[in-house]
Symmetry: C2
Subunit: 356 residues, 2 copies
């Protein structure tokens, strides 16, 4: 059995620890500086306060101050932090990193750096010590993985994406359980671009639910399901175009990392609830207030995408090329009302070169 | 303005009549022999009893006995019957058909005929008089179109698929409204295969909701969303494979006809409710009983697919190539329990040749 070091003891990192512990591995779950209360609670009671359940006893919760010891003699490292914690995690692991140490992350995001869109695994690799930088190939997990469900062993399949197929196979073999099935792919760019974009697009898909409620409708067979599904199909099309133009594969966006994560985020995620409030007619500030301080990744990724498209970071495309993305930016960042531009959906310039 | 003849006065045919009438066309809505009561009710009150709403006064409801007169001097013909009504509609229109008369249908289905899978537009063309058979190219509408929502003008985009791009453009121009936007595609096979298969796959996607309820869960963020979304992604993958092997395009299955219709059918359709009952542990007979006599297209298409795959109608593939389809057949036709085979999902033989 192996020893896993997980950085980040919030919901995501701790949920990831569950299948790994279930496979019989030792898990050292090291909290970020923001996770001190969680670490103390898990140590005192065994119960993770945010997940609301008992963690397996083979998961050892540790403070970030104990990292130096915890990082000794580990067989694999995983980042379970949110995107806000990625700088801490990269800095924290850098002194302990070796080129033969598998590193993977469930942190999702896309950043605009040096004039181009960079996915988080590449951003993390760039933050490793110069001597090993070119030989560290962090992998990433994408696809449907609501933390509270993984911790409760609800079955799912996820994508395990990375540039080194050999490393992927080692990780896959070690963390697979009957209820948690990572599927390897070398389309790292495709998987990570989808993982980031889905937070934005899930917001747009959820507009329809809010519009229906605003019109006085209730849950039922007749609602605005047609509109919701048309938006979802346009979301997949725009994601495919963005992925392909950044060097990934269209099939990644129609798979677990795209369609799968889009569906789960719309139905079970924060972003879906935020989109519903906007669809109900709340303005930006009111909708943010309704979310009671929850992190809204959709606002981050929409800001990044506007900056990147304005800077020409997606070859041959402008923001106007993606009418749904453009509308979501206008609603969520510029405080304009929701008016889904279906007349601009599925135009030949977007559909033509994917028509294979 | 043009004159449209719609065959079938049930929910689908009558809903289709709404945007067409809204564009100012004359609509002759001719019921099938099973629609006599509906036709009488619409004539007497203007209200469609199944849709539960007033139809525009420019829609004229007619009995099937009035077809010969109604078919004179029309500019386009549409089939709005269910798949069970397709033989009647084809026979009824045959004597009136001309090679320059646009024909399109919202009827969905796939039949196994002469050793191969045939989509309904091709089956209808084969039933036209010999003199015009080769020059009639029926088009078909697929994608998210719950009838009750279209009749209430809930916005949506649909696919308008056919082999003659010129005919598609004529129809598209005539029936487009701000809330009903057909998107033309010449991938007729892809659109129709998706339109048929989505009824089966929506059943499988809905298993997870039933499993969650069976386990005592309630609606909420933590349910079996991960599983539902993983099944949805596998459904799209299997649909892409089947479409491509039958000569269609993978992008059709990730678009409105595939992802879009799959989503709407899971959330708003009968098939989703049926899948939920099966996921709750009801056996086949109990689940069918719960549906109170509703047409279950999923049972038809699962039967067709088993027959076709057993007969080798999908080149290079057997039923075992599609683990989700195989499991759904076992559950819905063979009365086996739901045990979603996620360990067999996303295997390289299915993902490899779509990896573009």
């Amino acid at each position: 059995m192996a020893t896993f070091l997980i950085l980040g003891a919030g919901m995501m990192g701790s949920a990831l620890a569950v299948p790994i512990a279930d496979r019989g591995h030792e898990v050292r779950l090291v909290g970020s500086p923001l996770d001190e209360e969680i670490v103390e609670a898990v140590r005192a009671t065994g119960v993770h306060p945010r997940l609301g359940l008992q963690l397996p006893s083979t998961i050892r919760a540790l403070s970030h101050r104990e990292l130096d010891g915890a990082a000794q003699n580990v067989d694999a490292v995983a980042f379970g932090v949110s995107s806000a914690g990625i700088e801490w995690a990269a800095r924290a692991i850098a002194p302990h990193m070796r080129s033969d140490l598998p590193l993977f992350m469930i942190t999702k995001g896309l950043i605009f750096e040096d004039g181009r869109l960079v996915c988080l695994p590449d951003a993390v690799a760039a933050r490793m010590p110069a001597a090993i930088r070119s030989s560290v190939h962090p992998a990433a997990i994408a696809g449907p993985c609501i933390a509270g469900e993984i911790a409760r062993k609800v079955p799912t399949c996820v994508v395990l994406a990375g540039r080194d197929a050999g490393v992927l196979e080692v990780i896959r073999e070690q963390i697979t359980t009957p209820y948690y099935r990572p599927v390897p792919t070398t389309d790292l760019v495709g998987a990570e671009v989808c993982a980031a974009l889905k937070n934005a697009y899930a917001m747009g898909i959820a507009f329809a639910t809010g519009m229906h409620e605003r019109a006085g409708g209730t849950l039922g067979s007749i609602a605005m399901h047609n509109l919701e599904s048309a938006v979802m199909a346009q979301a997949v099309l725009e994601m495919q175009q963005i992925v392909v133009r950044l060097g990934g594969k269209a099939s990644t966006a129609s798979g677990l990392a795209g369609v799968g994560d889009l569906d789960v985020t719309t139905n079970g995620g924060r972003t879906g609830r935020f989109g519903k409030w906007l669809g109900m007619g709340l303005d930006r500030a009111q909708a943010i207030e309704k979310m009671q301080g929850a992190t809204l990744e959709c606002l981050e990724i929409l800001t990044v995408m506007r900056t990147a498209l304005d800077a020409g970071a997606i070859p041959g495309r402008s923001l106007q090329s993606f009418p749904l993305l453009e509308h979501m930016i206008h609603v969520a960042l510029d405080d304009r009302p929701v008016e889904v531009p279906i007349a601009q959906f599925f135009q030949p310039d977007l559909t033509a070169d994917l028509a294979s």
